[in-house]
């Protein structure tokens, strides 16, 4: 009868109602299955969880294409370079010998948000992947402040297209070898080709005028003729030394080495500067991802867990599919302990997911301890609103500092071990007890803070009018110096780009004493000379 259709609809709309038909049964899927799964997931994600996402584009790919995506950092198109071939060969060999499985999905921070899903996945896995990537990661990309600040989701694919074309043109015009050498050097410096802090925007004419007017207004308001009579210090104020002026002109010290080279290196040709710029932009695009790994995965895992659970409650997932999902989910959030042979660091999925769930718990069923530690959110009730706010406004480091609860520290049994190379033994600094919570929070947060994990290297001085020797400082935090061999290679690349001698000093920031020095002289006939 025709009435059954209406009944089904009303049941779907009802709160606790169970639908008559699950979205799929069995492991097989086709495009209509994915379409239905996406619609059902979207309803939960947008209406119930209140997520805000870019439009989705889901692309079905095979194993070779997944390997392709791996080797080009997940991007669908990229310029050509031997290192991508190397990564492809490595992943392929590992995949073939069964040492490594492939990811279920890859998701790209673009608008529309592209998610790659593997053709081998079962229907349940496809639903999981859509919930995880197409809604979890997607929401995070669109809302987190770091991504908003540093990446341009609308333009990235077009930019990569441009980059690929530009590099190809250069290869035709200047030879593959010249471009390859340049890219080698640029890739070596890629980790130091990002702006870590937003720079002031260059002001346009209107802003300039506004500023002028404001200043004049201010001057008029505070005008007092008496000031004219006060004996001036003007004559005493010495000009800043030539050295300081020079450094200010070159915006030194500068930690974005690629940016510095692009703007200042004396012997680069315009096309070489443009390629440095491309590498720098791509590094900048990926910069937020390294700072939000834990939160990003935590957010996506929490979202997929919530969505799958709710789908099952509504009867849209069969019990079999739900069990399959749970099995896969528990594998993902498994955290081996430190003395387990499988241990290889803290699993960002496990910790991220646990923290998101913990926040939910604090919001809904706080304990007395939570009331003290998290007065702002304890017992607030609306967990999703709190989580959405957290996802938008924190990165891994601040997130841990703020939200790693004592309960979770106890649950994970976290402890802090210090390894001082000058001492014969390691010492346990803090464990999961009253005295240790704050210390562990702080120490763990530091492990996720790029300022602590990436070496702090800055261009400090160069005399463009003199011998043009470039001087860099590495402020060796905790006296950990750079890996000697790598540093020598990278410095050689840097000297090739700069075109003159380069000197790097490793400095202990506590005593300002120099721990090590490296120097490099440009090789003849390489980049600088080619371009000149």
């Amino acid at each position: 009868m025709s009435t059954t259709g209406i009944e089904t609809q009303t049941e779907l709309g009802g709160e606790a109602g169970r639908a008559e038909h699950p979205i799929f049964e069995g492991a097989d899927w086709e495009f209509s299955t994915i379409q239905r799964a996406h619609e059902a997931i979207q309803r939960v994600a947008l209406d119930e969880l209140g997520l805000d996402v870019y439009p989705n584009q889901i692309e079905v790919i095979g194993a070779e294409q997944m390997l392709d995506a791996y080797s080009s950092i997940g991007m669908p198109l990229f310029y050509k370079h031997w290192s991508f071939g190397k990564h492809f060969a490595r992943h392929e060999a590992m995949y073939r010998t069964g040492m490594q499985g492939l990811a279920y999905e890859i998701v790209i921070n673009s608008n529309p948000c592209i998610s790659y899903i593997m053709e081998e996945n079962t229907a349940t896995m496809q639903a999981l992947v859509i919930a995880h990537a197409a809604f979890g990661h997607n929401h995070f990309f669109k809302n987190n402040y770091l991504f908003k600040q540093w990446t341009d989701a609308d333009g990235i694919l077009d930019y990569l297209e441009f980059a690929r074309g530009f590099v190809m043109d250069c290869e035709e015009r200047y030879g593959e070898a010249a471009v390859e050498r340049l890219l080698d050097a640029a890739h070596a410096l890629m980790s130091h080709g990002v702006h870590r802090y937003p720079r002031p925007r260059t002001i346009n004419l209107r802003m300039e005028q506004d500023r002028q007017r404001e200043r004049r207004l201010h001057d008029e308001q505070v005008f007092n003729d008496l000031w004219r009579t006060v004996p001036g210090k003007g004559a005493q104020r010495s000009d800043p030394s030539a050295e300081e002026r020079r450094r200010a002109l070159l915006q030194l010290p500068q930690e974005n080495i690629l940016y510095f080279l692009e703007k200042t290196a004396p012997r680069l040709a315009p096309w070489q500067r443009e390629i440095l710029r491309i590498v720098r932009h791509i590094a900048q695009y990926f910069y937020p991802q390294s700072q939000t790994k834990l939160m990003n995965e935590g957010c996506a895992t929490y979202v997929h867990y919530e969505i799958m659970q709710r789908l099952h409650q509504k009867g849209l997932l069969t019990d079999g599919a739900y069990v399959e999902f749970l099995r896969s989910h528990t594998n993902v959030v498994f955290q081996p302990e430190f003395d387990d042979p499988r241990y290889s660091g803290i699993n960002p999925y496990a910790l991220g997911f646990a923290m998101m769930q913990d926040i939910q718990r604090i919001c809904t069923e706080p304990t007395a301890e939570d009331e003290i530690w998290f007065p702002a959110i304890a017992g607030k009730g609306d967990a999703m609103a709190v989580l959405r706010d957290v996802w938008a406004n924190y990165r891994d480091e601040s997130f841990i500092l703020q939200f790693l609860s004592p309960r979770l520290i106890r649950q994970f049994g976290l402890f802090h071990v210090m390894d001082d190379a000058s001492e014969p033994t390691l010492s346990v600094e803090a464990i999961h007890d009253e005295r240790g919570y704050r210390k562990i929070q702080r120490a763990l947060a530091r492990q996720y803070d790029v300022a602590w994990t990436a070496p702090d290297i800055q261009v400090v001085d160069v005399n463009l009018a003199g011998d043009r020797k470039l001087i860099l400082h590495h402020r060796a935090l905790n006296q950990i110096t750079l890996d000697e061999r790598d540093a020598r290679h990278v410095l050689q690349h840097l000297a090739d780009l700069w075109g003159y001698d380069v000197l790097m000093k490793e400095i202990d920031p506590t005593t300002e004493s120099v721990l090590k020095e490296h120097a490099a002289t440009p090789r003849s006939g390489l980049l600088g000379a080619d371009g000149a």
């Binding site: 053709e119 387990d340 950990i480």
Partner: protein, 433 residues
């Protein structure tokens, strides 16, 4: 939401990057291929396979902190027994705490392993051997003719009549010359018949009859099919290589053959195998070893099983003759033979060997290569003239121009490739002269 099916996209998107990588690491890969080919058996010599490169050769450097020294913090899950202030003995190997940290920069000194495809492997292998364009050379006349369609011709046998093409030509000619259609004539006839009863329309009928007459005349003047229209399918003959070949490896395994000599022989056989494999779809390999008697054996036995006895070469040729008659008819198979020996032979056997070779073996073979292997350490003081071996003398008498046979002496591994190339180049030059 959009769903895009990318599975059908052209594969090999990464080919350009792979080629760049191969070019970049060429020296390393070549070395790895060379090493791995030494340990392979003949039949596997040209298969795809994994090679491993030293990791530092293709390392991408970056500024990173060294894995030792300084003060390090570790945060570990799963505390069971430690309390604040405990000390833990430093685990051996430094780095991690509790021995479970693993090398923080996973790169380490591990070798970089990856798979080469068969073509890449053979290219590198042959390139390493300095055998440029060998596959392009015409080695021996190993070809049969096959017929392929090649357009149309105006003459030919009736069985090859190209009906479609003929009718098409005819149709276009009929349209061009405006030959009346059968329906049109039929229509005229019908109209005339309809008017025949009607006396008033006599004039009209006359007109129609006139039209009909003209149409019929045209029809008879313009034939339905003209000899001009007829086309035949044309065939051309293409030389086609016989798709199968058999390679006989003959080797003296008597006590005087050292491991070094066998290794030289093996390298030669490997080359010949790869070379034949590039030309023929199926290549069989037959191993015949001989002392004073000969037998067919498998590869492993051939190279590794020691044997003692005298040396009678003709027994191997007998065995080869038997196998050829039994299994490899010269009509259907391209037969190649490579014999390796240190040159010893029982004096009384030389005549018989020469006879067999000239009258039986060579006529059946595409090519017969004799490789005389010497000791690596064989130095002769200046002025010392080395006597040619028995077999060498015997074969020199046979080996005259026009006979598909070549012979070379090899003393060192590095000579194998030049000699191999020479053996196959000589024939070619003789033909082109």
């Amino acid at each position: 939401m959009n769903i895009v099916d990318r599975r059908l996209n052209p594969s090999g998107k990464n080919l350009a990057n792979r080629q760049r990588f191969m070019r970049r690491a060429k020296a390393l890969i070549r070395k790895a291929v060379h090493e791995s080919s030494a340990s392979r058996s003949i039949k596997d010599a040209d298969q795809a396979g994994e090679v491993s490169l030293p990791a530092h050769g293709v390392h991408e450097p970056s500024f990173r902190r060294s894995s030792s020294g300084g003060i390090r913090d570790h945060l570990l899950p799963g505390n069971k027994r430690y309390i604040e202030g405990d000390t833990i003995p430093r685990p051996p190997g430094g780095g991690g705490a509790g021995g479970a940290e693993g090398a923080p920069d996973g790169e380490g000194e591990d070798d970089f392993r990856f798979a080469l495809s068969r073509d890449e492997f053979v290219d590198l292998f042959l390139e390493d051997l300095e055998l440029p364009d060998l596959a392009k050379r015409k080695v021996v006349d190993a070809e049969q003719l096959s017929w392929h369609r090649a357009g149309y011709s105006v003459s030919g046998s009736p069985t090859n009549l190209a009906l479609n093409r003929t009718v098409r030509n005819s149709l276009s000619r009929r349209i061009a010359l405006r030959r009346p259609k059968a329906e049109e004539i039929q229509r005229l006839r019908d109209e005339i018949a309809a008017l025949s009863a009607d006396e008033d329309a006599a004039v009209q009928r006359m007109e129609l009859e006139e039209q009909l007459r003209r149409a019929l005349r045209r029809t008879s003047l313009i034939p339905y099919i003209d000899p001009l229209d007829v086309r035949y399918k044309r065939f051309e003959s293409h030389p086609k290589p016989v798709a199968q070949a058999v390679m006989f490896c003959l080797m003296d395994v008597s006590g005087s053959m050292t491991e070094h000599m066998k290794d030289l022989a093996k390298r030669f056989y490997v080359l010949l195998y790869i070379f034949l494999k590039r030309r023929y779809k199926n290549v069989d390999v037959v191993f015949i070893r001989h002392t004073h008697q000969a037998q067919e054996v498998d590869e492993d036995t051939f190279f590794h099983s020691p044997e003692t006895g005298g040396t009678v070469v003709s027994t191997a040729l007998d065995e080869m003759q038997r196998i050829v008659e039994e299994r490899y008819s010269p009509d259907a198979w391209n037969i190649y033979a490579a014999q390796a020996s240190d040159g010893d032979n029982t004096a009384s056997d030389n005549d018989r060997t020469a006879n067999l070779l000239t009258n039986v073996i060579l006529p059946a073979c595409q090519y017969y290569a004799y490789l005389e292997v010497g000791r690596d350490s064989e130095h002769f003081p200046p002025g010392f003239i080395r006597r040619d071996s028995d077999l060498w003398q015997t074969y020199t008498a046979i080996c005259r121009s026009g006979v598909p046979m070549a012979m070379r002496k090899v003393g060192h591994r590095r000579d194998i490739y030049p000699v191999f190339r020479e053996l196959f180049a000589r024939k070619n030059q003789a033909e082109t002269v």
